[in-house]
């Protein structure tokens, strides 16, 4: 009734190959993005914009990156945090040493550096597979964080070793640093998220995305039909690390304001992997849903208890938070192993008939 796929006729190749082939889908996505730009910054208060939506969006970008690698190319990585750190530290180097660089360029450069590092650590994937590869990516995780902490060059020889993200502006409005308004930072990050999501959506349905999926589904068969594993796997590592690097740079510049290695430790890697799995492997929408779900669940649980003023000790809240978080993860995996994105599909299928299901 509300969601109709029938009766839509395509008369050109272009419309048949469009990103959103169904007008309703297109309208919906445009509507959500428009609302995110035009409505949310005015209705959300500082806490919602700065501490809820902003970090969720940044983590969505990281989840998008990992989803490209794990969901589309089938290479499990536990090194997401390290690639995020690479983006953050390199962006800091660019921002602090070449001060005239516009901030979006700085962030993209950080992402590119992360991509180069990602390719280097993706090399073992040509020989090592599955969980062996996953644990191998931990080498990247630990080695890179060690490197960034150990070499003072990365932090401009600052004595304290935790440099502050420098304040930068676009069109005269501060978008990074502590004094930037949450709304400005939110819009800045949102733009990155929207553009990167569009790029990802187009990448995965194009030639390169199809080779990734071929490798994921069966690498030997893919090789037999002429797909080069070297190019394919490394390109997936590069694109994925680029996304993670951008996310890491944004995390440092727009959210926590410091460039600190421990913000990108192994638990961050696990968290992003969670987002991808719970959101849905191989789904752009799933990356966003998963990121919001995993990031907001603990905070929501924590807030719920505080808001209702339940007389529970702080530590107990956290224990319960852990238990509920763990249990919900397992619950979701059991009920819907294909993630939140699959749930969304089901919703759409139901909407097709609703309210007259028979």
């Amino acid at each position: 009734m509300f969601y109709r796929e029938a009766g839509i006729f395509k008369t050109s190749y272009a419309s048949d190959q469009a990103l959103f082939r169904i007008p309703l889908d297109r309208l919906f996505v445009i509507g959500v993005v428009a609302a995110a730009y035009l409505v949310v910054p005015f209705v959300g208060d500082q806490y919602w914009l700065g501490s809820i939506l902003l970090p969720s969006l940044i983590l969505s970008i990281a989840a998008l990156g990992l989803n490209i690698l794990t969901g589309y190319c089938g290479q499990v990585s536990l090194g997401t945090g390290a690639f995020m750190a690479a983006g953050a530290f390199m962006a800091y180097k660019f921002a602090s040493n070449i001060t005239w660089l516009p901030i979006p360029v700085v962030i993209v450069l950080g992402g590119l550096c992360a991509a180069a590092i990602g390719v280097a650590f993706g090399l073992p994937s040509l020989r090592i597979k599955g969980f062996y590869l996953a644990v191998t990516t931990l080498a990247a995780q630990f080695f890179l964080l060690w490197l960034f902490q150990k070499i003072p060059w990365f932090v401009n020889y600052s004595i304290a070793g935790v440099p502050t993200a420098p304040p930068r502006e676009i069109f005269g409005i501060l978008v990074t640093g502590a004094e930037a308004s949450p709304a400005a930072r939110y819009l800045f990050v949102l733009t990155f998220a929207v553009v990167l999501a569009l790029v990802a959506a187009n990448l995965v349905r194009g030639r390169i995305g199809r080779t990734w999926m071929a490798i994921r589904d069966m690498d030997i068969a893919a090789e037999l039909i002429g797909i080069k594993p070297l190019n394919t796997k490394l390109s997936a590592f590069a694109v994925s690390s680029f996304y993670c690097g951008v996310a890491g740079a944004l995390w440092s510049f727009c959210y926590i304001n410091t460039v600190e290695a421990s913000a990108f430790d192994i638990f961050r890697s696990f968290m992003v992997l969670f987002m991808v799995i719970v959101g849905g492997l191989g789904s752009i929408l799933g990356s966003f849903l998963g990121a919001f779900f995993i990031f907001l669940l603990p905070i929501g649980l924590n807030n719920a208890v505080t808001t209702f003023g339940l007389p529970i000790a702080t530590e107990t809240i956290t224990y319960i938070e852990f238990m509920v978080f763990g249990a919900l993860i397992v619950f979701f995996l059991i009920v819907e192993p294909h993630g939140l994105a699959r749930l969304w599909q089901i919703v759409k299928e139901k909407l097709r008939l609703w309210p007259f299901p028979y």
Partner: protein
């Protein structure tokens, strides 16, 4: 001359440390072998088992009773996990199962601290804690604690090996490890096997937890020892019990030697990643680990 003694001291104590890693890695291997699940919750199980044990000790129970109750709890835990989690995830992809165990790990972490609190619990089970000095002027030191831990680990592995080899259950376990389908068709109940193997892993976790706990006190950071077991796993192979032992020895000795002899050139603290990089280079030559089963792929 004393340099040489020092080298052997480092080597030996590295290998002792390695047996401790092996002990944790063993729990992973057992479960992976029997169910193909990469059980990330093993580290948390170490913490949880040790917390239960020390909790009952502090209630005034004798050590044996406390240990028995802790084992019983781990068996109950294995049963719960099988019933509530694994059973519903049969035939899912390995990564889904892996994520599920991370979820389980979060739950257990919260649950353990919820019941026993987040304090440090000192633990002393009477493992000798002195050192022997051998060589000229005591040039080489051997920790009795490390030696005891290594002996305990060795005993545990022997017992497990015997158990796998000579008991009915052990044979069933090996059958399941070889081929789930074939094992099912000759009437081996898969679910029971999983409960058993998780219980055994729980027992291994308890032993590991007691040993680590008597060094540091039982506290939250016990759960991060799992991270030290991962390179051991990939080096030795996910499916091999001897692999876990040999891998542990290599990683333990390798990282200590590297830290002392290579570390200073890089500003130290290379231990954190050295084990992973070492394991990675091994894997480049043997992608299935030292003792892992050869992966044969067909289209």
């Amino acid at each position: 001359m004393s340099e040489l003694w020092f080298f052997f001291e480092v080597l030996l104590s590295g290998m002792f440390a390695g047996t401790m890693y092996s002990l944790v890695a063993l729990g992973f291997v057992l479960i992976f072998k029997a169910s193909g699940v990469f059980n990330f919750a093993q580290g948390t199980m170490v913490l949880f088992a040790a917390l239960c044990f020390v909790g009952f000790l502090e209630m005034g129970l004798p050590m044996v009773v406390a240990a028995l109750i802790a084992i019983a709890i781990m068996v109950a835990w294995a049963f719960t996990v099988e019933r509530l989690v694994l059973r519903h995830l049969v035939n899912q992809e390995p990564i889904i199962l892996f994520m599920a165990t991370i979820g389980v790990s979060f739950f257990l972490e919260g649950f353990g601290e919820f019941i026993w609190g987040g304090d440090v619990h000192p633990l002393n089970v009477g493992i000798p804690d002195d050192a022997w000095f051998v060589g000229p002027d005591g040039a080489m030191m051997i920790q009795q604690f490390d030696l005891s831990a290594a002996v305990i680990a060795g005993l545990l592995v022997t017992v497990l090996a015997l158990f796998f080899h000579y008991t009915r259950i052990g044979r069933a376990l090996r059958a399941v490890a070889d081929d789930h389908q074939a094992a099912l068709s000759v009437g081996i109940p898969l679910n029971q096997i999983w409960v058993i193997v998780w219980s055994v892993a729980g027992f291994v976790a308890l032993v590991a937890g007691i040993i680590w706990g008597s060094r540091l006190g039982v506290q939250f950071s016990l759960s991060i020892v799992a991270l030290k077991a991962l390179p051991v796993l990939i080096l030795g192979g996910f499916t091999s019990v001897p692999g876990a032992i040999v891998g542990g020895l290599i990683i333990g000795a390798g990282e200590k030697l590297a830290e002392i002899y290579i570390g200073p050139f890089f500003g130290g603290a290379i231990e954190e990643w050295f084990a992973y990089v070492l394991a990675m280079f091994f894997l480049l030559f043997r992608p299935q680990g030292l003792f892992g089963e050869r992966i044969i792929e067909r289209v």
